[in-house]
């Protein structure tokens, strides 16, 4: 792959707060025009990593480049070319939509901030509501406006920190369509999320837990790397079975999915044995390919036992 195509390239990033290691020796690369998903449980270090990438936090250790600029010394250059959408709504609630966008336009030195703000408002479909206070918008509209504000200065890199938290499914779908359109036009996107369906919409994903990067690659690659063998168990009254299986040797993960149970293990032979042992009338064991969530739950439980 061509080096100039790497937009984010960081190596060995570490950061601790009050002696607590939040990001531990993290390295990652993101290529231009790709949507890179950043997954992991709460407090895993996703936000801290994103903040280190855009110069809001200084890493304790490690080095790297973002858009070709050093993350330790050229933060201003990175900021000029990066749109960062924070987890909480961060536009001014007491400014109107138009005033917020004009403010951003002026900060980024756009040629005609008013015209650019008007353009962005039209694109967002907020034409008639330009003079409404940003704080009065609904959750979905706030999120659209925040994204619109981020891309108005035409950044080369978009950092989105849990952008769809608290947004309804329709708005989420529209949001992702928009992200794909932007990536198609050449924008690179790093997006953190909790949602598996969103993870599957990313070109590549990185899974982080307890500050450590546990897996990286495309969905298919991550599932293949996991070397997980999975059975789907169906039948009535699976609750007791689930409890028993959790303590059965050779079973790495048990998770209910609706009326069914996902049972997974890295020891394929052992799991086959378990399947035979617990097969009973009314309880069907079926082999299935593991899905992304199986892999992540397994990664997380392993990470927890490794880093208590």
């Amino acid at each position: 792959m061509n080096g100039a195509d790497i937009v984010i390239d960081v190596e060995g990033l570490s950061k601790s707060f009050d002696g607590k290691l939040v990001v531990d020796n993290l390295s990652m690369q993101v290529r231009r025009g790709r949507i890179h998903g950043f997954l992991g449980p709460n407090g895993s270090g996703k936000t801290t990593t994103i903040r280190m990438l855009c110069g809001l936090l200084t890493p304790d250790k490690g080095r790297g480049r973002c858009l070709g600029f050093d993350i330790l010394t050229q933060q201003t250059e990175i900021k000029r070319r990066t749109g960062y959408m924070t987890q909480a709504f961060s536009l001014y609630a007491d400014l109107t939509i138009r005033e917020n966008l004009e403010f951003i336009g002026r900060i980024y030195g756009l040629d005609d901030p008013s015209a650019r703000a008007r353009e962005a408002i039209d694109q967002l479909g907020l034409t008639g509501r330009a003079d409404q206070l940003a704080g009065e918008l609904s959750g979905g509209w706030k999120q659209r406006l925040a994204l619109g504000a981020c891309i108005m200065p035409r950044p080369q890199l978009l950092l989105l920190d849990e952008p769809t938290a608290g947004v309804d499914p329709k708005a989420r779908r529209d949001f992702w369509d928009e992200i794909h359109q932007l990536a198609h036009e050449g924008l690179t996107v790093l997006v953190s999320t909790h949602y598996m369906d969103e993870a599957e919409r990313c070109h590549e994903i990185a899974y982080i837990a307890y500050g450590r990067l546990l897996a990286q690659g495309t969905t298919t690659e991550i599932i293949a790397q996991s070397n997980l063998s999975t059975y789907v168990v169906s039948g009535a009254d699976l609750g007791d079975l689930a409890e028993t299986l959790k303590h059965t040797p050779g079973v790495d993960m048990v998770a209910p999915f609706g009326a069914k149970l996902h049972v997974a293990s890295r020891d394929h032979a052992a799991l086959d044995g378990v399947a035979r042992e617990f097969a009973a009338p009314g309880i069907a064991w079926e082999r299935d390919a593991p899905n992304l969530e199986d892999v992540f739950i397994d990664l997380m439980s392993r990470a927890r036992s490794n880093y208590p």
């Binding site: 080096g3 100039a4 390239d9 200084t58 858009l67 201003t76 007491d94 005033e99 200065p153």
Partner: protein, 411 residues
């Protein structure tokens, strides 16, 4: 991921086709003037934003008007440093036509409200001690006779000088009266007595505070205290508000530097300060009849300097405080010594040396000298150079601290 082994490969500047011409490029080749222009543009962005927020925040807007008005009314009207109708007790040991004339003249000055007519000197002390009267006046026996003989009889005035400013005006009126009260009565053979000095003596005994100071110039000082209070509070909240409303992270992620943010946030309030100055100065001139002897331009320029100094202090607090409550507490921590040690409350020269030293650090101290100098004495820039220099140094130091304290990262 081959790039991990080849970090140098990423050093070339990526230029995605769709975003080839970037409006924000300010590389080394861009002339300094263009960079300055871009910086001013960002400063202007913050300035406009702050103005809009200020306009929409009704409560802040109301306090801006209400604080000066309230303080003016409180200090200007309610706290009168030249009070009249002070409760007074009189012990007339002579009971002659002359002594009665003297008492009638006392009443006419409007300073004395005779509440008690005493029968013996032992009644004086309890009245003064309890605060029932501010003055006790004792006319000696044979006052009329001694007066006629030209023996210069002495009238004893006992004053409660615990609050010196309260009794000074009255005492000045009393001594002034002494020269004139008997002019009309001392006719014929007694006419030679009416020549100054007064034919009798007023002996003042100040109780509790023998070294009472002269009265203060309250209203010019009010310009300084009101501006200190309002300017401090407004900027003290400006940075903490961004933090509490979750907008700080975004602001820091934008390509703007701390100096641009600071000036953009200070400027709108300098405008507010200008209007407050006009309001207070107008009230001083037209409601309280304080003359403006000096040059109005000098007054405006130096007051603006004082406003900027206070805004810088408030902004500095804002960069140190963790939340708006802390910022408010810090403002009051600064405001109290400003009121007490600047010479607004007590005469500066009357304070102990350590207090004068503390006072000299505060901008209000220097501004009080400036405002009293310009308004009352007609002083110009050259007379006020030292205090002007102190104010400017203070403003600059506060701004430097603020910029150094401003955290550009979330570390």
């Amino acid at each position: 991921m081959s790039a991990s082994t080849d970090p140098t490969g990423a050093r070339g500047e990526p230029r995605p086709a769709g975003f080839a011409s970037h409006p924000l490029d300010e590389g080394e080749g861009i002339p300094r003037l263009a960079r300055l222009w871009a910086s001013l543009e960002r400063l202007y962005a913050v300035f406009v934003k702050e103005l809009i927020q200020l306009r929409r925040d009704r409560l802040t807007f109301a306090t801006m008007i209400m604080i000066p008005v309230m303080q003016l009314i409180l200090f200007g009207f309610a706290i009168n440093s030249d009070p009249k109708h002070l409760p007074t007790a009189v012990l007339d040991n002579d009971n002659s036509a002359y002594s009665r004339l003297f008492i009638a003249s006392l009443k006419k000055t409007d300073y004395f409200d005779i509440r008690y007519s005493l029968s013996g000197p032992s009644q004086i002390d309890p009245l003064i001690l309890s605060g029932a009267v501010n003055f006790a006046i004792e006319i000696p026996q044979n006052f009329a006779r001694d007066l006629a003989r030209g023996e210069n009889p002495a009238i004893l005035v006992v004053a409660d000088a615990a609050d010196p400013t309260a009794v000074n005006g009255a005492f000045i009126a009393l001594t002034g009266m002494a020269a004139q009260v008997f002019t009309r009565e001392l006719l014929g053979p007694l006419q030679n007595l009416s020549a100054k000095p007064a034919p009798y003596e007023v002996r003042l005994q100040k109780r509790y505070n023998p070294a009472g100071e002269t009265r203060l110039n309250i209203v010019p000082g009010l310009v300084g205290t009101i501006l200190t209070l309002t300017m401090l509070i407004f900027t003290a909240l400006s940075v903490t508000r961004e933090i509490e409303r979750n907008t700080m992270e975004s602001l820091l992620a934008m390509p703007i530097n701390p100096v641009e943010i600071m000036l953009g946030k200070i400027l709108p309030y300098a405008m507010v300060g200008f209007f407050q100055m006009a309001l207070i100065a107008g009230a001083a001139r037209f409601i309280f009849d304080v003359p403006v002897v000096g040059n109005l331009g000098t007054f405006v320029v130096l007051t603006m300097l004082f406003i900027v100094a206070n805004l810088s202090v408030g902004y500095t607090f804002s960069t140190i405080a963790k939340n708006q409550l802390q910022a408010m507490q810090m403002s009051f921590f600064f405001f109290l010594p400003s009121i007490l040690l600047s010479g607004f409350m007590f005469p500066f020269r009357g304070m102990p040396v350590w207090a004068q030293n503390v006072g000299s650090i505060l901008p209000l101290t220097h501004y009080l000298r400036i405002v009293r100098g310009v308004m009352l004495k007609g002083a110009g820039f050259s007379d006020l150079a030292a205090d002007t220099g102190a104010l400017a140094a203070f403003a600059l130091a506060a701004m430097i601290v603020a910029v150094l304290r401003f955290r550009q990262t979330l570390d």
